[in-house]
Subunit: 206 residues, 2 copies
DNA sequence: GAGAATATTAACCAACCAGTTAATAAATTA
DNA sequence: TAATTTATTAACTGGTTGGTTAATATTCTC
């Protein structure tokens, strides 16, 4: 059997170090030497617990998804909450979470864009989202003429895009919107919560 | 003086090769050896025309911005077109352009996220967008009670986010929306053009 | 405490990296 | 055509990369 304490210690030390460095510099920008050094561990230990840089990266990526706030999506599966309330909660929760961890989220998206073939499967089995509840809710609301008949996928794409955009591509929006200070930007994002909701509702009810 | 023909030839060959490889694999993922080989040029020539990998990359990045479709933003500076028309044209033009060059756009955003300090200045002087015309138009329309009084920056952020989102982070949206086939995805994006416009207008007029 | 399993280390490896150099070829100028 | 500038090349450099190995230290089991 393993000697528990120190094993978990070193393995976790490696993972934590890898997490920080990968997130900061990206998969291609980081070296295992640096990761080992920051973990204060011999480089060979890295290959004792993880058998390649790629494997280590994949575990880090999985962890990053968990902590990114993407899982907020699963709140959309709740059938007991009315549609509009759910939308509001989703927007607020997603924005709040993204405001806390913007870098992690940006990391996930960047790596996903750069290595889609390898990483989508990790995404798929880490987040596994079932859209059926939301679909039904939307269609039933349309049946009752409470909202217009819209494509549920478009709703999801709209809300998500509106929330993510200015956060994960902050550098771009900083330039376009000409907002440089941190506090100003945060205020701008706070203001968005209400706007995104209003915009969505006004679209659904016209 | 330079020997024009062959000079331009080789320099351009290098730039083109660098462009393709950088866009495909990203700045950190690409090596100059590969770039030289694909350009069918001696590696030293790379340092004859560009004095480092970073310089070469920056030129590629600049070129990528030009071809990415980001410049469509500048149509918003036109004061002769009515607000709603301008919005419609911006959405259509941006979407169309992005549909043609989704990878380039993704590249620009990824690199910008990864190296904001170095690349924002290139972005700033490549795109230089003046928001004042749009601001005035919006405020005047609000004065005339044609639209609600909204923050022009939020309008810009909304439209842009809605257009960019599902295109530059396609892998993510493919999973969330569960759309795998290329044609289905393109149709989805086409459908969005109208939806984004409707959504924006309904928000502005409530 | 012997033996086995687990954990850790330093030294090593070949391939690759960005970048240089010094010599040469080709074109321009005079 | 001689001198000069511009273009091109092969070979090289020093450092880094991801990854291995073989020996050793530590811990667990009995």
């Amino acid at each position: 059997m393993k000697e528990q304490e120190s094993t978990i210690d070193t393995k976790d030390k490696i993972l934590e170090s890898a997490y920080n460095i990968f997130v900061e510099k990206g998969g291609n920008g980081s070296g295992i030497k640096e990761i080992a050094e920051k973990a204060d561990v011999n480089k060979a230990m890295l290959y004792y617990y993880f058998d390649s840089k790629e494997h280590l990266f994949k575990e880090v990526f999985r962890k990053a998804i968990e902590e990114s706030g993407l899982k907020v999506l699963e709140t959309m599966e709740d059938s007991s909450t009315p549609l509009f309330d759910k939308i509001k909660r989703y927007i607020d929760a997603l924005t709040d979470h993204l405001l806390e961890e913007p870098i992690i989220f940006s990391f996930v998206m960047n790596e996903l864009n750069r290595h889609p073939e390898v990483l989508t499967e990790i995404l798929v089995d880490t987040i596994d989202f079932d859209r059926s509840v939301l679909d039904r809710q939307i269609n039933e609301a349309a049946d009752r003429y409470e909202i217009a008949r819209i494509n549920p996928r478009q709703l999801l794409a709209n809300i998500t895009s509106l929330c993510l955009g200015p956060i994960i591509n902050r550098s771009y929006y900083s330039v376009v919107l000409d907002i440089s200070s941190e506090s100003e930007y945060r205020q701008f994002l706070e203001e968005r919560k209400g706007i995104i909701y209003d915009m969505t509702i006004s679209w659904l009810t016209t």
